[in-house]
């Protein structure tokens, strides 16, 4: 006990907050950076995950793991972690700042997307600019457009698994063309 106390005091003194008791979560989470960027602040194409809510991160990792949500690669990865580990990972990334993706935006498309966003009632859950106060609803503002496009296409597809939380979107997105989805994606991506 005494030894541990010494170590903790020692660490605060010498290494600030960098190496501390939350190491377990850090150990599980830092390997994700190779795909998702340091601290989840992706530099391109793969979604930004740093700064998403803990509730959403946990639910999403479990959905991937249980194949309730379609993915190209995340199911294979999420299946490597216990629910407890997933909770720790969720905690870690939710404590990181949200750094919007760096990407080119088509302004006229974004404008059309904004209109659709309002008309279709997406703002009800996702807020006026794609930032929601509901913990189960992910931030869309500043996310990578192409990634968002893929997700909407998946929600539309009746052959793909869908989580209970996402189900209301299937009907709302029905009938929207690929162009519409792209416009929506550019709108969300353009917000910071």
């Amino acid at each position: 006990m005494k030894k541990k106390l010494f170590a903790v005091v020692f660490c605060f003194f010498f290494c600030g907050m960098a190496w501390a008791a939350s190491n377990e979560a850090q150990s599980l989470s830092v390997p994700c950076a190779g795909c998702h960027g340091s601290e989840g602040a992706s530099k391109g194409e793969i979604p930004v995950i740093g700064g998403l809510s803990k509730v959403y991160l946990e639910a999403t990792m479990k959905n991937y793991k249980n194949e309730v949500r379609y993915s190209t690669v995340m199911t294979r990865i999420a299946q490597g972690y216990s629910d407890q580990q997933i909770a720790a990972i969720g905690e870690y990334f939710s404590n990181q700042p949200w750094i919007p993706g760096s990407q080119e935006i088509n302004a006229s498309m974004a404008k059309r997307g904004e209109k659709l966003h309002m008309e279709k009632g997406c703002a009800g859950c996702h807020g006026a600019v794609g930032i929601s106060s509901i913990a189960t609803v992910p931030r869309l503002a500043g996310q990578y457009a192409r990634y968002l496009f893929y997700q909407m296409a998946d929600y539309q597809d009746p052959d793909k698994p869908i989580s209970a939380a996402a189900r209301p979107m299937r009907g709302m997105l029905a009938g929207l063309s690929d162009d519409d989805l792209e416009a929506l994606a550019h709108f969300y991506a353009s917000q910071k």
């Binding site: 600030g16 150990s27 960027g37 992706s42």
Partner: protein, 427 residues
Amino acid sequence: MRRISRRDFVKAVGLTSVAGAIGLPMISRSAGSTAQIVVVGGGYGGATAAKYLKRYVPNSDVVLIEKNTDYYSCVFSNEVLSGESSMESIKFTYEGLAKRTINVVHALATEIDPNKKQVKTSMGKAFNYDYCVLSPGVSFNWGVIEGYDEAAAEKMPHAWKAGPQTVLLRKQLESMKDGGVVMIVAPPNPYRCPAGPYERAAQIAHYLKYHKPRGKVIIMDSKHTFTKQTLFMDGYKKHYGDMIEWRSPVDGGKVIGVDVDAGTLITDSDEYKPAVANVIPPQRAGELALKVDLADDSGWCPVDQRTFESKKYDDIFVIGDAADAGEMGKSGYGASSHAKICAAAIAARITGIEQPEPSYLNTCYSLITPEHAISVAMVYKLNDKGTIVGVEGAGGTSPRYAPEWVREREANYARGWFKNMTSDAFG
């Protein structure tokens, strides 16, 4: 698990004054520093290790010794061969690490003295360390393919270390006449990037398809199977028809020698004269690791797979391609994963706070065309015997039967993966 005791700590700090007193041209610890850490090799492993060490233990002195001023990434270098990427796009500098107050020294590390705990360099300067991390990549087993040595590689490039070799192979492809045959000699296991030779075949075929449509790529293999084999073979057929042929040892694919002057590749029964010969020789740990006796008979470095500390010498850690990391294949992603665990282990030693249970990840995307990628991913843990093993039920490859949009999505994500892997290491 080792923990630093109060006494050891005093001992470690005491080193400062001793180091200063020896009188060699050495770099010694700065005031208030908790530890002196020397990282040798600034590739995926070393660059990531330096960055995470500084992050975990900000008050340590971290020196990174790297012989080249720029790093040319092997990852995505096959795309340079096809012309889809440029040398500029695979070039990375050490400015990002220098900004993080990592002392980047461009010199060849010539020796490590595990007793004096010192790394010597070509510039005459020696660096004392409390902990040394070595990530030297691979070296080649010259001569196992008879006649294939360093000089031969100037005519029959391996292009297995990105840089001038990549440029040379690209030039040979460019000057090849339509109808020519490119032979890729794939190495025996284990080697850097298991999927590399097969992605390369596709990338070269991609170039030929649009510029030399009567050309052909033949993979001469000393292995009977290879990673993501069905996915590669399906992809070859779909995009390149019979332009790519794979020959296993049973089909006479095993190359045992070369005649550089004649430009021929020699097997047990035949001799071939391809227009371009890309010979990827068998591999082992980087030269410095061999010289310091960190490797065993296998040619790779045995380490405690929880910390990556060498089994041969205390306080020297070996990561990346050079290390024997259990079931993990040798890749840039893997090297970066080793680096973070090794940094955590060293931080634990310095601070006395226990190292968390390590968790490892490895993933690799291969591009068959710019719009068709396949991936393999695995999560690893340490088993009871201290060996890195895949977590049961996790990981695997992209599905075999998948529509085009899946391959296209993966190609899109592969580009993001490259940006993130490199910025995590060098940014």
